[in-house]
Amino acid sequence: MAFLRKIQRSDFVYYFFRDPIAYISFGILLVLFVGAFAAPLIAPHNPYDPTTIDIMDSELPPVWASEGSARFLLGTDDMGRDMLSTMLYGMRISILIGLGAVLLQATIGIVVGLLSGYIKKLDAILMRIADVQLSFSTYMIAIFIGATFQMMFGVANYEKIAAPLLILIIGLAEWPQYARTVRASVLAERRKEYIEAARIIGLSRLRIMWRHILPNTLSPVLVISTVQVANAIMSEAALSFLGLGMPQNKPSLGSLITSGFEYIFSGTWWITIFPGILLVVLILVINLLGDWIRDYLNPKLYKG
């Protein structure tokens, strides 16, 4: 109880509820997350179960259109899957890939950033590697790795490993963002006297980096993490759109948009538009929340 009261009285909660953008975005994000992760419970159909899919239902428009069916609220796609259910399942995959990729980016980036910020000898080499990585476009690296793996495993096997592979690809493509941010904070922190005090106690470098420097560099990491989750979801959608992402029978939001793209000019607009809107809303609320957290953590901005 005391803990709950402490949270209730904290600045964070106070400022959070004073800012409509913050709590509205958070509310929408919460709804989307619950919808995505509770999809097996709340979705009207199971798009992964081929026995429930009837090809005769394909390309049905949303329920409010004249040819719409009450069984399919947002219509069906070209294979007869219920759009709403497929989108919820797809969003779950998108979010999982986004979070997983960010976790990987953050792990690599924080380790590299700490090492290159605190140990001078490693700085030049690690940062040059990061520069090389940054000088290529993320998508180029992702397409390269993705295409290689698809050839290595064959399209059939590729479907099984697609999700972890996308996490790996997007994670490896964007770690320099983290490494640079962490390194910059480490360079600022290591000059401070509490680090010298820790050295005089005799603590090892590893312990100083982990226990003393890292906790003091985490607020920028938190901020870029929110933006990076949105970026990773976008990257996944873009790769899926290019045909290097999630396969059609386990679609993410990106692959749903692609699959509808072929039909958009024949009047079947809902297969592309609905997942598109969902993707935009998801990215938008994550970014808005990220902005808000950045403002909250930056004492120089006036919190009105």
Partner: protein
């Protein structure tokens, strides 16, 4: 070595390379590319013996290398030349692991109480860490007791161990900083301008605390300061530094009554005094850059008594009466 000497600093030299990256080393001049490094000579051959239980102060203006001296003695910077001894053991060239036992004997208190405590750790954690590190066998209860004892010693309520440093005032933080140094029961403490960042009324409290602790725990201080009245109050001996070199080392009383070195004289005349007409001895010019030190005596560019010998020959510390050591050709020749 004299058994009463606790820490001995011998001809310590510390230089900093500020050339920057590998590419910055190359200079293009006169149609030729040459490789050249820019070196700041922060400390140039300083020797001090600190006896058990005494307070030796190092004074000098900003940038004269007193903080660098303190950090080099503590092993935060490796010295280029010279030696540091703790009792009979040379400690400046030890590996981190072999230096470990000496860490518990030598601790440091820092200048900025706002930067010297980790903002993400509670006071209890800050104080526990050194104890747990140096005495890993100690049980949880014993560690907590020790933390409480140390907090009590520095005049902070032990119940505050769950607080964070940002909840404390500058003076309270400095007390915690001192407490952190005391947790490992050191006998030598380097205090790098411990009161420079504090309010005047708090300065006195912290000074008195440090002097009380010295009595209770038989501590030895190397006290870095630029505040001469504080130095006169706290120290037994005083070393005056100018541009990385030591000008004068004397008993505190002797130094303040009879300064020998022209720089010490100028420094002391700058102390404002009540009721006296200003007899401020004004030095002309600026402190030369430690990147290109003047030849001979480092003070010759601003000294009124300069002659040719001062410009060419670096003066060594010589013993004069009253146990004072002075590095000045003028004093040696009897001109001053």
């Amino acid at each position: 070595m004299d058994p009463l000497i606790l820490v001995s600093i011998r001809n310590l030299v510390k230089r900093f390379d500020i050339t920057g990256g590998w590419l910055d080393q190359f200079r293009f001049s006169g149609g030729k590319i040459s490789k050249e490094r820019t070196v700041v000579r922060a400390v140039n051959g300083v020797s001090i013996d600190v006896a058990q239980g005494e307070t030796v102060s190092v004074v000098g203006e900003s940038g004269c290398g007193k903080s660098t001296l303190a950090r080099t003695v503590m092993g935060l910077y490796p010295p280029e030349e010279g030696e540091v001894y703790y009792k009979n053991d040379r400690i400046d060239n030890l590996s981190e692991a072999r230096r470990q036992p000496f860490r518990a004997h030598m601790q440091m208190v820092f200048q900025d109480p706002y930067a010297s405590l980790n903002p993400r750790m509670t006071l209890g954690k800050i104080l526990k860490e050194p104890i747990c590190f140096h005495q890993p066998k100690l049980g949880k209860v014993a560690v907590a007791e020790k933390v409480a004892l140390v907090m009590e010693q520095v005049g902070i309520d032990p119940d505050w161990h769950t607080r964070y440093s940002h909840e404390l005032s500058g003076g309270q933080r400095q007390r915690i900083s001192i407490a952190r140094a005391l947790t490992v029961e050191p006998d030598f403490i380097v205090a790098d301008e411990p009161i420079a960042a504090l309010d005047v009324s708090i300065q006195a409290q912290i000074l008195n605390l440090m002097m009380d602790l010295q009595e209770q725990n038989n501590l030895t201080y190397l006290f870095i300061s630029h505040d001469l009245s504080v130095v006169e109050h706290i120290s037994k001996r005083v070393a005056v530094m100018y541009l990385g070199s030591m000008c004068e080392l004397a008993q505190a009383k002797e130094l303040f009554q009879r300064p020998r070195h022209p720089y010490t004289q100028a420094l002391l005349s700058a102390i404002p005094q009540l009721g006296k007409a200003a007899s401020h001895e004004k030095l002309t010019g600026d402190v030369p850059s430690p990147i290109s030190l003047p030849s001979g005596c480092v003070f010759h560019t601003r000294c009124r008594h300069t002659n040719d010998r001062c410009r060419q020959e670096i003066p060594q510390l010589i013993d004069v009466e009253g146990g004072t050591q002075v590095a000045c050709h003028g004093v040696e020749e009897g001109r001053l």
